[in-house]
């Protein structure tokens, strides 16, 4: 079973990398981009076969290591 964890800076936390990407898109002529936020995706290959158990375990991984919940939020998709 695979899990996809998406980690993003929380709303309200300044994302200078997202801002830089936004400026670069503007410079390339892509008008109409209202905002850019940059995050990271972590793919996990799990031995667990029970989706509910897997989601709970991955939640613990996020809290302990994969995300810094002071500044980041995370979402988990079991695939």
């Amino acid at each position: 079973m695979k899990a996809r964890v998406t980690v993003m800076l929380k709303n309200g936390v300044l994302d200078p990398q997202g801002e830089a990407v936004h400026h670069a898109l503007d410079a390339l002529g892509f008008d109409g981009v209202n905002g850019v936020r940059q995050g990271k995706v972590i793919m996990l290959d799990l031995a667990e076969t029970d989706a509910a158990v897997a989601e709970k375990t991955v939640g613990k991984m996020c809290e302990k290591l994969l995300a810094n919940t002071v500044i980041e939020s995370y979402s988990i998709e079991i695939l």
Partner: protein, 222 residues
Amino acid sequence: MRVGVVVFPGSNCDRDLAVAFKAAGADVTMVWHKDTALPTGLDMIGVPGGFSFGDYLRCGAIAAQSPICRAVVDHANSGGYVFGVCNGFQILTETGLLPGALLRNANLKYICKTIPLTVENADSAYTSGYSKGEQVMFPIAHHDGNYTADADTVARLEDGGRVAFRYSENPNGSTADIAGIFSKNRRVLGMMPHPERAADARHGGTDGQALFRALVSAMQDA
């Protein structure tokens, strides 16, 4: 005074920190990150600058989960002194010993230069060699030194006299110009600037010497 300086893969200021402590009169032992216990009898743990574990995932995140860091957290929680510089500060926030987090510099650039700081609180074992409001010159060398914390946390730090150093000219976007903060008992200090790189005339500055000397003197008196 006995100091243990933790060494992670990717640490690069561990020897600088050891040299600065030794020059001030401390005995220094290097401690490997895979060790599960600290040597007995240490007064102070130094968590050095560098790029522990290649800054993978987040700066300091992997180091904060290393076996030795559990011992460092226990040491702090039982009233011990822990001093984190640069990557060491990032590691201390990741362990939860210090609040907040260090984000990418607001201008997205790695900044390496000597800058002025203001000593905000001289009432600690670390800063008693300075006077409040004194300006000191320390080098910074970081890409992720933009201190961030929510408004409640910043208010708590300010009200509790826990801002140790402030940037005189904010180089990285840090909230409230914060360059270094104390734990509640002021025995844990994390700071992005490098006093250990301003501790010898050959460094081009000696403003950091007072910090190491004050610590050694505080521990000898204790």
